[in-house]
């Protein structure tokens, strides 16, 4: 009996370790952002629709906003565009765009063709601000609260399902009730 106890114990232990590993395995490469619960990185960048203007992220203090990282080279960004338009229509939060490593002209054309859900789009041609936000694959969307704290990060193309199930519950009831 004792002979089997040790291998059995080892097997059970291994099974537990693997089960935990499976449960914690990155969901399709989704990695938890260390920014969650921390202050959102600040930036000042040119505005896509008028590059002579500078947008300063400090202006966002005091309200909820979505920070959406996209680029015209990003196929999945096209897939989430309708969801962004719908969220913009519901006017629950403002959507701030970060046009990541993109051509301005291509981005403007994209907005003309597909519609513009953004309140402001900051242009990050060199990808420096994207690094500050820990962005590694567009599209990525952050939810930031009025104190400027990153509340939630969503990786991959945004859907209305994700919006309703992941974002709306994190918004204050008053904000969400408007939908």
């Amino acid at each position: 009996m004792n002979r089997f106890l040790i291998p059995l114990g080892a097997f059970v232990l291994l099974a537990i370790v693997l089960a935990v590993g499976l449960k914690h395995s990155p969901e399709k490469g989704v990695i938890k952002s260390p920014l969650l619960g921390k202050a959102a990185p600040t930036f000042s960048l040119p505005v896509l629709t008028d590059t002579s203007r500078t947008f300063n992220s400090a202006d966002l203090k005091g309200r909820w906003y979505l920070f959406n990282v996209w680029g015209t080279w990003c196929v999945e960004c096209r897939h989430e565009h309708d969801a962004l338009l719908e969220i913009a229509k519901r006017a629950e939060v403002s959507i701030i765009g970060l046009d990541w490593r993109d051509e301005d002209s291509a981005a403007l054309q994209w907005l003309q063709e597909l519609g513009n859900p953004y309140e402001v789009i900051a242009v990050d041609r060199e990808g420096r601000i994207a690094i500050d936000w820990g962005v590694y694959a567009a599209p990525e969307t952050f939810l930031v609260d009025p104190q400027g704290t990153v509340v939630y990060k969503y990786i991959g193309p945004l859907t209305m399902d994700a919006w309703v199930n992941e974002f709306v519950p994190r918004l204050p009831p008053k904000q969400a009730a408007k939908s």
Partner: protein
């Protein structure tokens, strides 16, 4: 023969150069060494099993630029690592640091080794005991052959 070998060697060197992803040259050999060290221990988050030194994607190029700039600004290797983990988490380090979160990662191989050693000692003790139990006639038998 010698000449064709030399030509072949030159060609081989030429191809390996043209395939290099990263051609950054730091001003001093010391900085270059640190730059190469860091870019090889930082993970490309987009193509997760490659170091940023080997990855052709834009993000890796941006992160390499960041490493180079920080080193040129006189930052230490740990400054660079802290900068990267503050933004991308421990996952960006191929060699995760020892912390309460990663302690099992580091401890498990040692624990497994200890278990293996314990099993090995036990097995060899059991075998030794078997030899003691062996009766003499067999040994004589062996010797007489």
């Amino acid at each position: 023969m010698k000449r064709s070998c030399a030509v072949l060697l030159c060609l081989m060197l030429a191809t390996s150069l043209s395939y290099a992803v990263d051609t950054t040259q730091m001003p001093t050999p010391e900085l270059q060494k640190r730059y190469l060290g860091l870019t090889h221990e930082l993970r490309c988050m987009q193509c997760q099993n490659e170091a940023i030194a080997d990855s052709p994607v834009n993000l890796a190029a941006d992160l390499r630029r960041q490493v180079a700039e920080m080193l040129l600004a006189g930052k230490s290797d740990d400054d660079v690592r802290n900068y990267m983990t503050a933004r991308y988490g421990d996952f960006i380090l191929f060699r995760p640091r020892v912390s309460s979160k990663t302690i099992w990662l580091w401890a498990t191989p040692g624990i497994l080794l200890l278990i293996g050693a314990a099993v090995a000692v036990r097995v060899s003790k059991q075998r030794a005991a078997l030899v003691d139990q062996d009766n003499e006639p067999v040994e004589e038998d062996v010797r007489s052959r």
